[in-house]
Amino acid sequence: MNLSNHIPILIIAIPLLAAFLVPLISRINKKATGILTTLALSVSLLLTIVLAVKILTVGPQVYVFGATSPSLTLPSGLKFPIRIMFQIDAMSIFMGLITAVVSFLGATYSLSFTKKYDGVDKYYSLLLLLTVGIFGMEFTGDIFNFFVFLEIASIASVALISFRGVDLGEPAEAGFKYMVVSSVSALMVLFAIGIFYGEYDVLNIAAIASVIKYSQLDKIALGLLMPVLAMKAGAVPMHMWTPDAYSEAPAPITMMLVAASQASLYALFRVVFSLYNISLNTLTVGWIIIIFGLLSMFIGVTMAIIQKDIKRLMAYHAISQTGYMLLGVGVGLAVLANPEALKNYGITAMEGGIFHIMNHAMYKGLLFLTAGALFFRTGTRDLNKMGGLAHYMKYTTIFFIIGAAAIAGLPPFNGFASKLLIYESVYKFNPLLSIIAMVVSILTLASFVKVFHSAFLGPKLPQFKEVKEVPRSMVFAMAVLSCIIIFFGLFPDLIVKNLVHPAVMSLIEQLQYTGTVLGGM
């Protein structure tokens, strides 16, 4: 029994087992639940890093459930896979790394943050299940399995968003909205799966991609999948759930919700690039994605400027930053059929967009955690009621400055690195788009200067006399994120070359994706 072959499943199965154990453990000892959660997620993080090293050196990994060997995709003479499999390439593991880091830090942060809550065991159980759902969405190579994990992630996030619904009405309301959105979108995904199944009689993504004909029905399936996944990712025409859900969830959960919506974004890219790829009318679909991105950027930032609630403001910024990713990858898709333009600036644009996913998860997670720290000590999210907090919470102030500078795209932080890639490549595609992106960046900076001024600066306020620095585990989580942000900002070339570029290439090259499952073609 060679455990190193089983790493892909262990990454998911260990948090899942821990999630089942947590309710039983809490009968014996309530405090042990948090420690068990953190332990399970740290094991998962370690295994993800090991798997990432393996994938980036050896190549894509396949794990077939229930077969006689983990890499046996096609048993004896079949032309199509019959079992569920995990298919992990550079792009999947890129997203997996984000999820692992974010979930581990979320659990660490929760150790202190959930002291005020009762029913902590349910909280940790749901947190683990949410992690499992996100990991599954990113790793799976089977389209129905994707639907199942989408449901796990959305039901767990609904339960966590409405976790404070016992005492307050707003979390329950936000949870209801998100539940309606996510169940409708999951059912539309299931309808699209039915269309694929009826046409080709396979459920494996790579197998569908190898036979797809782009007929009328495939167009309808794309027309169902794209808006629905964009809605789950929080792009603008369908963004109404995002501010509510992000602002009402507990702060560590908001950070994980960012990762969950990015998993939907990943699924959108997977559908467009790996499932359809060149058979699409790439220019049209690319422009649709670019327009989604532009609307998200602009409307997100304009709505953010007028907000009074700190987490709501950050949620609108999350929408606006999603626009950058859609813009970068959309430009790459628009020139996919044109090898020269793709080589010239398409790949760079996609690198910018994909790199921005990771950067966004890090700095937006940090900002939500600082907002959570402010809420933890002051008990309010209203910017007008805060002030002078820099006197009491030194570390939190520093972390907030780092996060705000990163989101506004100031050097030497990571936001600058990915935004620069997007600006320079999009400028070659269409100068106007690049200028809009820069304007949005300036507006973002203005908005965060306002937040910094009203929350941290100013005289000491009498009602915050008791406020002191947050507990150690919360500081630890924020410090790790800040270190990652600064590291990525100082050495962007290293990350782009080793992590982002393989991810982009694995998206673009469809034959490599199908070949992993179906053999050399």
Binding site: G66, D118, L129, V132, I152, S162, V166, S215, I220
Partner: protein, 88 residues
């Protein structure tokens, strides 16, 4: 105004569905059924279960079933967490 936008979206969506219904293959005559024929022929041999659907649910697609049980567990934990303040 809102109603008009909703109505338009609804009409577009409904026409999508109608077009897909018209284009679907004829009811009762699957054109391609390679994967399912494989299951019907080999499930009994490979898993030993007489019920082909059960052998798919628990063997060929067993991981889906784990996910499905997890979804139910998640919903239970969510419902219990939502009503946790409510005493008997």
């Amino acid at each position: 105004m809102k109603k008009i936008i909703f109505g338009l979206a609804f009409i577009i969506f409904f026409s999508f569905l109608i077009v897909s219904a018209i284009n679907m293959r004829t009811f009762g005559e699957p054109t391609i059924s390679e994967m399912d024929d494989y299951f019907i022929e080999n499930a009994q041999n490979e898993t030993g279960a007489n019920n082909v659907v059960t052998s798919i649910v628990f063997d060929y697609r067993g991981f889906d079933t784990l996910g499905e049980a997890t979804v139910l567990f998640t919903a239970v934990v969510g419902v219990v967490a939502l009503f946790r303040g409510v005493k008997k």
